[in-house]
């Protein structure tokens, strides 16, 4: 191969560094014994089997696994069956456990079925709850899969509200049974009798939760960070307190119906850390056409039209039947 002048310069530059001619006698004298050939490992079949197993498990879960044991106590929502706040502090009736699976199916653990989990329709659940509410005043514990669509949980809550099971308020509990979130309320709550101290004076912001993740909109500011939202929330709360606005601070949360419940729960947790004690759900809590068709429920009032960025104290309408308070 003909070298160029530049290549010649390179060769001259490194010729002084060249090692002596390779002489194998020295290295042959130092060669140790070779390692025996190891048995061929079956790592490829093992990895393939593991991959197939992972795909199978993923597909099984993806297809709407209905095994109650797989759901886990991610989020639990307790619905007291008594209408008054004072009586709602401790369950006095029996506990009815309802599980909401990822695919939207509802499972109920009924004493009549020896404690086995049974899949029920919303209509059947509504009928059962209506009867049970009259007889036993049960507490309903809804265990929602964290991946369950928010709308499905809303349907469940709405059914409970229609049967006067959720006519005070509900709290979401963590897996350890301790309260994880804050008290919350559905606008479908019809059993409440509004009083003077339940009127809403101040609404601060509207939080929108996007279904793809933690990115959400907080008022007129956008941020992908929940921690930032929590800080803004706390700032807004302090600002309200500084202006000595009389009344109750009230926050709202709005989420598309397909939003996984865990995102809603995470935002609720931020509300709580920011000092809020209660958050109302509105708008998307309207029962969907499937639920209306199944239950023939009247559409609850949806006259709340608050928008982000508006002066909440002046623009926020007072919604009948909604409790406020921190």
């Amino acid at each position: 191969m003909q070298r160029t002048s530049l290549e010649e310069r390179i060769a001259r530059a490194y010729e002084g560094l060249a090692p002596p001619a390779a002489d194998s006698t020295e290295i042959l004298a130092d060669l140790p014994a070779q390692e025996p050939r190891a048995r061929r490992r079956f790592w490829i079949p093992a990895m393939a089997a593991a991959l197939l197993l992972a795909v199978a498990v993923w597909g099984w879960q993806r297809s709407g696994n209905q095994n109650p044991g797989m759901l886990g106590p991610d989020i639990a929502v307790q619905l007291p069956a008594v209408p008054s706040k004072a009586a709602a502090k401790q369950p006095r009736g029996k506990l009815l456990r309802v599980r909401l699976a990822r695919g939207g199916r509802v499972l109920v653990r009924l004493p009549a079925l020896d404690g086995e989990w049974a899949q029920v329709s919303l209509k059947g659940l509504a009928a059962y709850l209506g009867k049970a509410a009259l007889e036993d005043h049960p507490w309903v514990l809804i265990e929602a899969d964290r991946r369950a669509p928010w709308q499905h949980l809303q349907w469940l809550l709405t059914v409970c509200a229609e049967k006067r099971l959720a006519n005070t308020y509900f709290a979401a509990l963590g897996g350890d049974g301790k309260p994880l979130l804050l008290d919350a309320r559905l606008p479908a709550d019809k059993a409440l009798v509004p009083g003077d101290d339940w009127k809403i004076k101040v609404a601060i912001r509207i939080v929108r939760v996007k279904q793809e993740g933690f990115a959400f909109q907080f008022g007129d500011r956008k941020s992908p960070r929940l921690v930032q939202a929590a800080r803004w929330m706390a700032d807004a709360l302090r600002a309200v307190e500084k202006t000595e606005v009389r009344g109750k601070v009230f926050g709202e949360i709005k989420a598309p119906h397909r939003t996984p419940f865990r995102y809603v729960a995470a935002v609720l947790a931020q509300f709580r850390r920011a000092g809020y004690r209660r958050v109302d759900f509105y708008g998307t809590a309207i029962p969907g056409p499937k639920l209306r068709e199944a239950l023939q429920l009247p559409v609850p009032r949806t006259d709340w039209v608050g928008e982000s960025g508006k002066s909440a104290a002046n623009d926020a309408p007072v919604k009948r039947g909604t409790e406020s308070g921190r």
């Binding site: 310069r9 001259r12 530059a13 060249a18 090692p19 290295i27 050939r37």
Partner: protein, 187 residues
Amino acid sequence: MAEIRLVRAAMQGDREAFARIYERYARPVFWDLVARLERREDAEDAVQAAFVAAWRALPQLRRPERFAPWLFRIARNEAFDLARRDRPRLVRLDAIREPVAPVSPEVAGAEAVRRALEGVKPASRAIVLLRVLEGWSAAEVAAAQGMSVSTVRRRYARALEHLRRALDARSEKNATHKPRRAHRAGL
């Protein structure tokens, strides 16, 4: 004997076959390590250690046709291990940057070329050394380095271009410095 036969024989414990492999690959491996290490002494030590390690592990080699990249990989691992060890440094006098005595233009030019080549990535520097000093084709370098032939050609061309520019810049700098010195001397 074809390389693949040498490798298979060495895998069976044939020391003579391994000696032929050593004679064939000792210098290329050395240049590859020189391109990646700061000190030539480390490269020399690493070559010896690499071939001993390769000999011990040869029965485990699954694809004898991929012997060259396997050997280069072992050599690099050995080199990095050696470089990490804390041991007294032995420095060649001609590797000292600041000359203690006037150097000839040839030595200064060689030093300039080496310095200029230090400006390219070690992998590209290894390609240059293997092609220029060992006369390897792009395909041979690609097989040893585990790259595609087009990547080797591209990196080689870029390295030479970088070297050319660096040397031109250096010669221009020297040309501008000389009159200034003369001017100062005249003052």
